[in-house]
Every structure is written in structure tokens, then in C-alpha cells.
Symmetry: C2
Subunit: 343 residues, 2 copies
């Protein structure tokens, strides 16, 4: 039922060559002929066989990624949301994914296999760490890739898309300081991930500019789950001198933190202020919290879409995209921030 190139060419009284060229945008084909071809494609519903294309061109029309499998990382809400963005864009170009799950310790092998398999045209890398060895590895693999996030300490000569975590948390902390807060806590993501480090750095910088220091007792690093947010906040509140404000690296963490605060009988935005980073997870909107959350916002999904665009553009050699992008997060003020309580 499905037509192939040969039949299409016959139908048009043209050669396969010409039809193929017409479809793939080669210049040496009459404009009128091209129109006829396109028309016929529309009528017949012709779709090129991807396997054949791949065999002929060597291109796989698919992008590979390694799905980290480790408690708290895999099947992460954040991962799923990002994936949705990638997929949304990929499908427009009829691209596939090869999802390759792997334990973190086997990642290197997995990447190599993936690259060598010929099953993918490009790779995608995330969960960046400081001095991440995977970057050097990917460079050596001679296959295009894009990194979501940035390493630290590594030379910057690789393609990435990251958000400006430092500035985001700098801005957030500064707002709190302006509101009179002096003791600000941080519930951060895993310590070894570079975005966590940058966020902390931004916060430290803002404090320093006002002659304040970050109290180590007011910093917690953990996986970004509700439970961890809850426990971290509880710990802060038991402190002899509890914080009057807290920054959370995710709305998921904020969920737990809010719970702990409520449980302690404190009022958010009043007794204690809270700013969370918002990845724009559809299931967890900051405006739906009992007290709407002030956030630094940057859509994870949009990042996925953008990365897919760049990757695919690169493979198809269409369009020209910057190799490195740093997105600025928006600071959106809602009800969870208020002036520091007078003691």
C-alpha cells in the first residue's frame, strides 16, 4: 500500500534520481518539476523508508542518550520533563531516540557502545559534574553531542546548553537580603553536580556583597525529592538560630520544605521566606502551593526542545545554531517571600 520511490518516480515519469533530488532540496532540479513531485508526495502519502535512507547515507536519524539508572536519578520527574521536550522536537523531524539505560559506573562503556553501534547520529549528555571525564571521552568519540549543563574546571570548548545557575541564585539571595534576611539556608541538589555548586556559589556571592557569610549548618545537599526537602528543612528549624529564609534547588524539594515549615507552625512569607528554582514541571506548579512560591524559573522542557533542535540541525546541517548557550532564569515574585521578621 505504501508507495516507494520507484513507484513514485514511475508515476511521475521521472527517474528516481530526480525525485530524490527534488525531495532533498538539491538545486539542480527545475522548480516546476519540484512542485510536481511535492504534489505527488502529498497525494500518495509517500514517506521515505528510513532504513533505506540510513543504509544509503549512513545517517541514523536518531539521537542517543544514556539514561542514568540509580535511585533518585532515574525516573526522576526532572528527567521525564526534559525528555518530553526533546521528544516533542525530535518527532517533528521524524527522529528517534535510543534510550540506553546504564548504571553510572558503566556509563563510559555504554556511551562507547552507543557511538560505535552506528545506531545514533548524536549523543546527549546531562547530569554534569565538576571535571566531568565524560566530556573528554565524548570529544574523542568523533560523534556530535550536546551537553545539558556545564562542567566545572573543564575547558569550555564543548557544545552545551545551560542555565545561568549562579546568577539565578545570586538574584534570589539578593532579593532576600534586600528584604532584610540575614540568615538564609540552602536546600540544594546533590553536591557533586555542577548546577548545585553554581547555585551555591551565586548565593555565597550575594551574601558576601553584603558582608554576610553562608553558615555551613544552613546548607544541605541531597537528591531532589520531597522527602529530602522535608528532612533538610526540619534540621534547619531545629537549629539554635534558625534561618528566616531558605532557597530550594527544586520545587520538589520545596514541597517537603513547605511541609516541614507548616508542621512547625510557621507561616511562609511571614515567619520564613522561601524561594525555589522552578523547572516548570506541569505537575508541580509554584502558583498552586498553599502559599504561592517565589521562584527562579527556567523551563526544563524548553531546554529539551532546544537541545533537540540543535542536535538535529547539526546532523541535517540545516540552520546555524550557537554552540554554547546560557539561559537566564527569571525571578518571579509570589507570596512566599516577605520582609524578614523583626525579632
Amino acid at each position: 500500500m505504501a508507495v516507494n520511490l520507484k513507484q513514485l518516480a514511475e508515476l511521475l515519469g521521472l527517474s528516481q534520481t530526480t525525485v530524490s533530488r527534488a525531495l532533498n532540496g538539491y538545486p539542480e532540479v527545475n522548480a516546476e518539476t519540484r512542485q510536481r513531485v511535492l504534489q505527488a508526495v502529498r497525494e500518495t502519502g509517500y514517506r521515505p523508508n528510513r532504513a533505506a535512507q540510513r543504509l544509503a547515507t549512513g545517517r541514523a536519524y536518531s539521537i542517543g542518550m544514556v539514561m542514568p539508572i540509580a535511585p533518585g536519578i532515574d525516573s526522576d520527574v526532572h528527567f521525564g520533563e526534559f525528555l518530553a521536550g526533546l521528544a516533542e522536537e525530535a518527532v517533528k523531524h521524524d527522529f528517534h531516540f535510543v534510550l540506553n539505560p546504564s548504571a553510572p559506573e558503566d556509563e563510559e562503556v555504554t556511551f562507547r557502545r552507543l557511538a560505535a553501534s552506528g545506531n545514533v547520529d548524536a549523543l546527549f549528555l546531562a547530569y554534569m559534574r565538576a571535571n566531568d571525564p565524560r566530556i573528554a571521552m565524548l570529544k574523542s568519540l568523533s560523534i556530535p553531542f550536546v551537553v545539558h549543563g556545564r562542567s566545572i574546571g573543564e575547558s569550555r570548548d564543548y557544545p552545551f546548553l545551560d542555565i545561568d545557575n549562579t546568577t539565578a541564585f545570586y538574584d534570589a539571595a539578593r532579593l532576600l537580603i534586600q528584604l532584610g534576611h540575614q540568615r538564609i539556608a540552602l536546600i540544594n541538589g546533590p553536591e557533586y553536580l555542577s548546577f548545585s555548586m553554581r547555585r551555591k556559589k551565586g548565593m555565597v556571592r550575594a551574601l558576601a556583597e553584603h558582608g554576610l557569610a553562608l553558615d555551613d549548618a544552613l546548607v544541605e545537599h541531597s537528591l531532589m525529592t520531597d522527602e529530602h526537602g522535608y528532612r533538610s528543612m526540619q534540621r534547619f528549624l531545629q537549629h539554635v538560630q534558625p534561618p528566616t529564609a531558605v532557597l530550594c534547588s527544586s520545587t520538589v524539594l520545596a514541597l517537603g520544605a513547605v511541609r516541614a515549615i507548616n508542621q512547625a507552625g510557621l507561616k511562609i512569607g511571614d515567619d520564613i521566606s522561601l524561594i525555589a528554582h522552578d523547572d516548570v514541571l506541569p505537575m508541580l506548579k509554584p502558583e498552586n502551593f498553599s502559599v504561592p512560591l517565589t521562584t527562579t524559573r527556567s523551563s526544563l522542557r524548553a531546554a529539551g526542545t532546544r537541545i533537540a533542535t540543535r542536535l538535529i540541525g547539526g546532523i541535517l546541517k540545516r540552520g546555524d545554531y550557537p554552540d554554547q548557550e546560557l539561559w537566564r532564569a527569571e525571578l518571579i515574585v509570589r507570596a512566599s517571600t516577605g520582609p524578614a521578621p523583626q525579632k
Copy 2:
């Protein structure tokens, strides 16, 4: 660098035909010859080119799925976890995924396109509703598929993997009744999804067996987010005659419910009992809740793995798997359930 069949055959002094047959388990090849071939494969690291195989066989070595895009469904924790299971199994057989995002209203078109594209060997379907029209559609598509969940009202002649939701919630409700609870609430998933209906049914049945009825005011349906769990529970607690126990369709909902309960100053397992369905999400373990949760447990990830196994087995015509499976959830008692409070 990578060897192909031709080179391998040359190396062995055999024809491509024989090598191919040896590799694909055809009988008409000498056992000794086969050993030689396998040895050579090991030494050279030969891996067949998937595009070529696909072109020759028509098999795509990939399974397609439509990723629902709608707030609260896409990038759902549950979806991600399930996907991880699928991926884990698929990669063992060098299978891909084609993730095709689609708005619910376009799903039918998307499925058709996917099936017609020749890019997938099988389809996967989830988020089943009552009288789900997609089943009839998939049957008409002449492409293998497996359903995660079951429809209701539809004839049962399609391949599925489901958990016994009815029994799970029947068991859970019965336990609560045995503990003396009479007013039991339900925080359920979306009303139109068949698993929600079945869970409610199970609960109703258990109550009925003890001469009790389910109070409509004690039932809430919603997306399975923390926020909805919280709001639902709050509503219940404001009731003139609040429940002494509650069933939650997900630990995510339980998260919110627990928050509401704590906030009301009630003690879980004491003033109010709670049982949640546990999909074994790594980021939300019932035993890590401030009061460990009694749950009905069934791993979503394992379900993903199983479905991939069946799908791939079917495509490769290897192994014989049951067409329909109904898994029983385990009822695991922890600290969140206790005798009904004496009034």
C-alpha cells in the same frame, strides 16, 4: 574499522549466506562451522548493521509509543518510571524506542502514522479508559501491541498486562475494616481511567461485604500530584464527620494527604490510618515517610520490563509469553495503619 558481513565471511573463507545463517540460528549449518563463526565474531567485534537488517527483513527493531502530552500526564513520575523499565529490557536486545508525543485528541492519528511509518514493529498503549476506542483501532492496524492496564466494557481479547487493582484495594479496605474503621475515604486517580474505577470498585466491594457503603463525599478523583492529594485530604478533614482512614491511589497523592493530616494536627496510624498504592517509585519510598506507609505494592518498573519482554519476544518470535497477565499487588503493612480511634 567496524567489520561487516562480507569481510567476516572472507576472513572465514565462507559465504555471507553461511555466516548469516550461522548467526541467526538456522539449522542447516555445521555445528563446528557455527562455532568458528561465533569465535570470529567475538574476535572482530562484529555487529550487524541494523539499518541493513531492517531493510532486508522489514523489521525495525524498535517499539513505538505515544507519549501523552497534557498537564499532569506527561512527564509524570509514573510514566518515567515505567519507561525506565521498558528501556532497561529493550536495550538488552538492542531495541530502540520511538517516542511520539501527542496531544490526547490527536492520539489516533499519531498511532496510525506511527504504525504506517514502518519505523516500529510494535506499539505500546497505556492510560486505559473505559470503553477505550484505541483498542479497536490498534487491532485494525495489524501491528502487534500490548496494553498496560485494561479497558472496561471492552471485550477482553487483546494483549495486556495489568495489576489486579480491584483486589488490591479490596484487600486494603478490608484490612482497614478489620481494624475497626467504618468511615474510609478514597483519594483516587482521574475518574476516567480504568484503574481508578477498579480501585474504587474493590473498595466498595469490601465495604459492602461488611454492610458498609462508600460515602460519595469521601471520594476524590484527580491527577496524581502532591497538590491534589493535599487538597483532597483537607476537604475530607473539614467534613462534619471526617474519615478515620483513607486510601490513596499513589504515594504521590499520599504525600499531599500526609501533609494535610499533619497540618490538622492529627497523628497518622493513630488518629487516622492511611494506605497508599505504591508503584515503587525510587524517589518516593513509603518507608521513608515520616510515618512509614502501609501500601499495596506493585512495581511499575517491573511492569515496563515485562511488557518490553513480551513485545520483543513477539517480534523476534522467541519464547512464548502469555497474552494476558494480571499481577497481584502485595499488601504491606507499616506504621500508617492502626485501629480505628475510639470516640
